[in-house]
């Protein structure tokens, strides 16, 4: 069977101090080629100072159908936010 170039996900740090962010994906035969292609495809205008490439098949993603059980429990926990707590007006910075 003919083998196609696998898919890679590309993450780029736009400047030091910022995190790598997902930029897109591309096909390449191996990791070195994925890096080179990512440089040409996603950083033609100085968009980055560092690139990560990850084989797409190694990413495990949550299922949107499980949105409720995964993320809804956080919604009624307002006490995790600072605005939940009452302070006297005199306290300016806390």
């Amino acid at each position: 069977m003919k083998k196609n170039w696998p898919l890679w996900e590309v993450f780029v740090r736009s400047k030091n101090g910022l995190e790598h962010r997902h930029f897109g994906s591309l096909h390449a035969a191996d990791a070195d080629m994925a890096l080179e292609n990512a440089r040409d495809v996603y950083t033609r205008r100085s968009e980055g100072v560092s690139i990560w490439v990850v084989p797409s098949k190694h990413i495990t993603a949550s299922n949107p159908e499980h949105h409720g059980e995964l993320f809804e429990p956080a919604q009624d926990k307002v006490y995790r936010h600072p605005t939940f707590y009452n302070l006297p007006d005199e306290v300016k910075h806390m």
């Binding site: 096909h27 040409d40 033609r44």
Partner: protein
């Protein structure tokens, strides 16, 4: 899934889009939404890739180093845009190879404008100014389309596209301000590219079969006729400014509508080119197929090399 369940999901889906929520690859979507998006995004990607061919024709003959580096960068951008869009399209569950096969067998279309030849250097100016100009008008609303990966790709494309139009207009401006022969070259290119550029914005609303559904899915924010009017209104003053004449005797500013009135478009020509009878349809497609077939051994060699390296790593580990 029962028909009733699907109807329910579809209603929820429509509500999400109405609320301007984005749809992401793993979300449930109606089959028709998926298919329509594969069709449109792939057609868009193919247009970027085939669009490199008419311009590539002039890279080695650009009149100066400045023009040459600009044209090279533009063509490289188009390859990049094609790649962003193919990736976005693949998130809908179709493989890159299937997409290429659809292009090569003629099952998928690309923009008809690229089936016209680039016979003089001025054509490179006209393409940047008019073809990229029309493309930008088409593409800007797509930055807020409902399918997340497509919208994100379009934001990158639009950011990069504006230099394309400017470099084209600069070429036209320089020629129009040059010798009488150079000005004639610019006028001739405008004469040939004007009408195909208007057609590029798609059939009139009355004839457009996809418009209504696409508006609902925010794949389209304005109708073809609205976009065309916008293109004409913005381009005519640009032609005036550099002393070129739009080749339309019926073109006239309308005080009442605040738009230009324009002459009838030859839609027969448009459909002829769409159906494969344009001046360069055969040439473009065979250039694509040839590049794909002649690149096969390179793709295979790269895979073989990657496998060999992987094997070596495994053996070392044992």
């Amino acid at each position: 899934m029962s028909e009733k369940e699907i109807k329910n999901l579809e209603a929820l889906f429509d509500q999400r889009i109405a609320r301007d929520e984005k749809i992401e690859p793993k979300d449930w979507m109606p089959e028709k939404y998926r298919k329509t998006h594969i069709r449109q995004i792939s057609q868009h990607a193919h247009s970027e890739i085939v669009g490199m061919l008419p311009e590539g024709n002039w890279i080695t003959r650009a009149p100066s180093m400045r023009r040459k580096v600009a044209l090279l960068a533009k063509v490289q951008d188009e390859a990049g845009h094609g790649l962003y869009l193919y990736s976005a399209c693949e998130t809908l569950g179709i493989s890159r190879d299937e997409l290429f096969e659809q292009l090569h067998t003629g099952k998928a279309k690309y923009s008809s404008i690229f089936n016209y030849p680039t016979i003089t250097w001025a054509d490179i100016g006209a393409i940047g100014w008019l073809v990229d100009g029309a493309a930008i008008i088409n593409q800007v609303p797509l930055c807020s389309t409902s399918y997340g990966p497509y919208a994100r790709a379009m934001i990158r494309v639009c950011k990069e596209e504006s230099f394309h139009q400017r470099q084209g207009y600069e070429i036209m401006m320089t020629l129009a301000g040059g010798s009488p022969e150079q000005k004639e070259l610019a006028q001739d290119a405008l004469n040939r590219w004007w009408w195909p550029s208007l057609m590029m914005l798609g059939p009139t609303d009355a004839e457009s079969v996809h418009t209504e559904q696409s508006m609902k899915w925010k794949l389209k924010r304005k109708t073809n006729d609205e976009l065309r009017q916008q293109f004409i209104d913005q381009t005519v003053p640009q032609a005036d400014l550099i002393g070129l004449r739009i080749p339309d005797p019926d073109l006239k500013w309308n005080e009442e509508t605040n738009h230009y009135d324009f002459g009838a478009i030859d839609w027969d020509e448009f459909w002829q080119v769409v159906k494969g009878h344009g001046p360069c349809n055969t040439e473009r497609l065979s250039a694509r197929i040839q590049a794909w077939e002649e690149g096969e051994w390179v793709r295979d060699a790269a895979v073989a090399y990657a496998d060999k390296k992987e094997d070596k790593k495994l053996k070392k580990a044992i």
